[in-house]
Symmetry: C2
Subunit: 715 residues, 2 copies
Amino acid sequence: MNNTRARTDDVDLTRLFAPRSVALIGATDHPTRFGGRLFRTLIDFGYTGRILPVNPRSDRLHGLTCYPSIAALPETPDHVGIVLATERVFEALEDCAARGIPFATVYSAGFAETGTDEGRERQARLIAFARRTGMRIMGPNCNGVINFLDRFAMTSTGSIRGSRAPHGNIGVVSHSGGLGQITVMWRAMQTGLGISYEASVGNEADLDSLDFARFMLRSDATDVILLAIEGVKDGSKLIDLAREAAEREKPIVVLKFGRTAAGTRAAASHTGTIAGSDDIYDAAFRQFGLIRVSETNELYEMATLLRTRRWPKGIRAASAAATGGNIVQLADAGESVGIEWPAYADATQARLGELMPGYGKVSNPTDMTSLATGEPENFRRALQAIADDPSIDVLAPIFAFNMRVDIERGAEFVRDCVKPAAMLWIGGCNDDDQFTARDLIAQGIPVFRNATPCVRAFRAAADFGALVASHKSGARTPLRPAGADPDRARAQLKATSGKLTEREAKQILAAYGFSVTHELLARSADEAVRHARSIGGKVAIKVDSPDIAHKTDAGALRLGVEGDVQLRGAFDEVVAAARRFAPSAIINGALVQEMATPGVEMMLGIVFDPVFGPVIAAGFGGIHVEVLRDLAYRIAPVTPEEASRMLRELRAFKLLEGVRGANPRDIEALVSAIVRLSWFAHDFADEVVELDINPLVVSERSGGVKVVDALLVRR
Amino acid sequence: MNNTRARTDDVDLTRLFAPRSVALIGATDHPTRFGGRLFRTLIDFGYTGRILPVNPRSDRLHGLTCYPSIAALPETPDHVGIVLATERVFEALEDCAARGIPFATVYSAGFAETGTDEGRERQARLIAFARRTGMRIMGPNCNGVINFLDRFAMTSTGSIRGSRAPHGNIGVVSHSGGLGQITVMWRAMQTGLGISYEASVGNEADLDSLDFARFMLRSDATDVILLAIEGVKDGSKLIDLAREAAEREKPIVVLKFGRTAAGTRAAASHTGTIAGSDDIYDAAFRQFGLIRVSETNELYEMATLLRTRRWPKGIRAASAAATGGNIVQLADAGESVGIEWPAYADATQARLGELMPGYGKVSNPTDMTSLATGEPENFRRALQAIADDPSIDVLAPIFAFNMRVDIERGAEFVRDCVKPAAMLWIGGCNDDDQFTARDLIAQGIPVFRNATPCVRAFRAAADFGALVASHKSGARTPLRPAGADPDRARAQLKATSGKLTEREAKQILAAYGFSVTHELLARSADEAVRHARSIGGKVAIKVDSPDIAHKTDAGALRLGVEGDVQLRGAFDEVVAAARRFAPSAIINGALVQEMATPGVEMMLGIVFDPVFGPVIAAGFGGIHVEVLRDLAYRIAPVTPEEASRMLRELRAFKLLEGVRGANPRDIEALVSAIVRLSWFAHDFADEVVELDINPLVVSERSGGVKVVDALLVRR
């Protein structure tokens, strides 16, 4: 449940995707039944291995010998498909196990997706069967795999009927068959993209979406993976996959459903997925470099560029077109996703000036007016000048209505350009109606029809390039900070029993290098007076009780107390207030605490996510978290770079830079505190279920941060 | 410059769009020159009126008699196109005016879009010419109009070459030719939509985008208008157009560029448009019911549904499909734009239960599993049951891969459904590859390929329906609130000279019914003591000076002062501080002011926008406006409903509902204050350039609101 766990269970799915022979239990020649459609597809898609239909009621099916049982097969297949009534699935699986078959795909429904106890029990039984026998099972309630390289497809989908599409370098993994095979795969192919492998994984009783994605990641035939999921069961497995994707320089684009309550409900009734918090998924995707999109078309639009695996050095883009309105649209769309349109260098200006006489200074993106339409050669020269500009990272020339030869030359420019580039072709072809973007995309050229997907893909490619670079430099590996002493913290935690007081929680944090307020426990009013003298200045008086988590609610807190009379009064009052609030509470006395220097108040916390385990949260105090929900999350542990990115996600980040005349705050110390907290979350994942530091006071630059209050809940 | 101005300048463009005869100055038979392309299109598009080419160097062009000059024409055309070198345009225009020609389109560039003084002067001359002669001019730097009904097209675009598309009911207006005619119009037609009129308006020296949009709005042939603009010159004209659109129940979808700095720069260099604040455009679109989208494809996707002019009664949607993954995607996409998926009524559940035996309670959106694929008749019955459910306003059945007959029956269901409905067809056709969504869209059926545009269109249709209903009920007309006394306020403003003090500004606000703090001007410390006694309790002491706008910055403000000694000290201190801060300032003395009851502090303001005139702004005090930019705008004046909607746009709106144990605030009084302020902004548009009420303290329910400080800047 945490992201430094060793990788386990690296199942190799080669023989599932490319079996030397395959059996299908429940094969039939009925054209519309599920078993019939599956069997027909298996034959028609061009599989070259041996197909072994199993059905006791037939001798031959579509010209192939049909066998009455698995036991009767003349050879042991690598993979068996099971299309049977739910109650007969287990019997078939036992037969398969007895023959030593390594992979089975269970298409039958009636498991966890029904939402019934019976269905859930069946699914648990399936999991237990897989564990016991070592057989690996895809499904149940799934629609199998498609292997475009080896022409193996054991699936019912109508989306691969007809002429066989050439394979490409895009892998697709989806929970849903209809969504993965039609809305993603078929639609991607309609735009001219080619697929390597597709998997519609269903309920994931044993093999899950990430196992299939990992197989694709490791295959030479796949350069980008599209993942359409309702959630994952194991966050650490997703993180491992993301790390491997960065190492292999193969981006994963993810569409994760359940962003809304309605989506979560719909997902639960679809494959029985139990989703963690979508905010935490979102944070994890950002932290580990998965590219998140929000609809199926965005998955393959991203792939149109990412499959070229050319990572821009930055986010500085340029474009040129004959149509000014489209330039304006592209400029807007780009800046909306953080793309910059820098001014051209002087040398570029000079070269463009020769091509566009009388136009003065040329802006970026560049409206070449009808000069571009009338003089295609000039347009290409202008693009070349822009590509040579050292201040430009990526290029997106716009084409509207042009002659085929000019569009093809534009495509060659995009393909051969020294910088990553994509063509934004918004119109048609003047001399060939049948010539479309699909033709160019099928040749591997990144062509977009709309500005937004184009700039989003540029942004994703640049971000992924930065991730790859930081992986290579080792900057992505979290390192335990000096001064974090788990042994001391563990000993302190052991020394406490039951619920922890503020003081105890802060002592544990101090063992991780946190600066905490100076404070002493007073058991009497006299002692409070003595402690206040030793601390000096005004103090806070807070009840010390493991049973009162929220001292303000109990009225058991006094701030800015000074002088013996006030001190005695405050001690008596907070103890009395605590007694009234919780008559049975254990009350140790009152904490006499230095008054922290005023500063920006933040809240840091640890939460435990069912999917990702220990997660850290950061936000500003007061209404920011409670009303505005301005919170950033990360999976623990984090690097300082990640902690810094996390803070910059907060809408109110400027408060740390100093606003309304205030000086900048000690962001460095805050980053260090987040890193320490993330290691604590990581180290104590089994002992601690919740921790809130609220407030953490952030002083002005070099002034550090201080824990003023903390609440720690033991598991 | 304000939205209650009378409508003026209602030019009728019928003879521009459908001239009985048309002349083209600069016609040529050269195939690639602009004048040649224009002339060719005029002939090929099927215009049935008389075409009169004008070119002194030809006698005949494409078989038509060519005339040496406008003077030589055998008849006076309704509309003349001018394709000449820039310097020769005016001579041609004078000739046209001499013949009494009512409409001219100037295609030539070289005007304001060049960004040069010379170009701007030329454009000013063009405007003056139009004013002087009464001739109405389209352009310059434009690409003319297309009239699909009467087959009149005087434009250079390649996007209408080839076979003639049937006309439809969608009007398109764009600044840019390439964007309007290709990225919007041609692309819309590629999806199966039909166009009535298109106008590419260029620099708008005389006729502007709104004149063309109004023509389309008033034509029976147009049911929805797509507007792609970089800005408008006159906000009140846009508002009038929006009101007329609501009255005629014809929605306007608007893509407004310049959302970002890069987009604004690109727009400025394209047609020389000077944009107002995009935030204020955005507020105006929402206030007056224009449907804003962010990219060209969204324009025609919206039109796919809106052209049916069926307004849902609400935002409660339902869907059903054979593919669960797509159901999940649709549920997520819907809730993201505020669409609800209510549970079905019991009667519906019962009907669906019969169709889906063994599935228990059916959820919405509904995964019918393979029951839908295998039994198309059952699927239609299920859709009918859902359509009959009184808790459902709109339907979006999903189709994946189906037989043509089943898709066609689905389309019939969508067309004939008692509730507004759209088909979400994500896949293809099993038995006819050539049958696509385009075929259905061309028949007028709303068909979507992706979930997001579908739910966005539903949301826009429901919102537009609500707007239409509130227009009919009269609720959209702002009414002057009782107690707002412009005469008294004007008299008070007149009584002041130069800059206004806080006290003077508040007295003017009091004349509009605002409750302001009780305060008295003290000219001496003794007077301050007397005033404080008469006010009672603790008071604030603030310097009273027209020259010191920000008293806190000057240190000329003391809060919570009481007792004679403190009062005298405070008076002396604030006066001394003010003298130090601004030695030459006029200092009237100090204001002795009651301390306002603590409450939620808000900021209300008036700003003057170059496009929309007086605009009101509202936000919470403190960091909300300055750091978080959490501000809402509206064009003045507003209705209470609009003021309420404005507050609900604020991210921190919950602060008014009561958070962290606080009681709800007097939102009603706040709404009333916003309405009053909006009338003040409207009434004093010519006298006041800026007004800030900061803070306005909002007390608990029934406690009202109070102006604590105000700054008014005279024009």
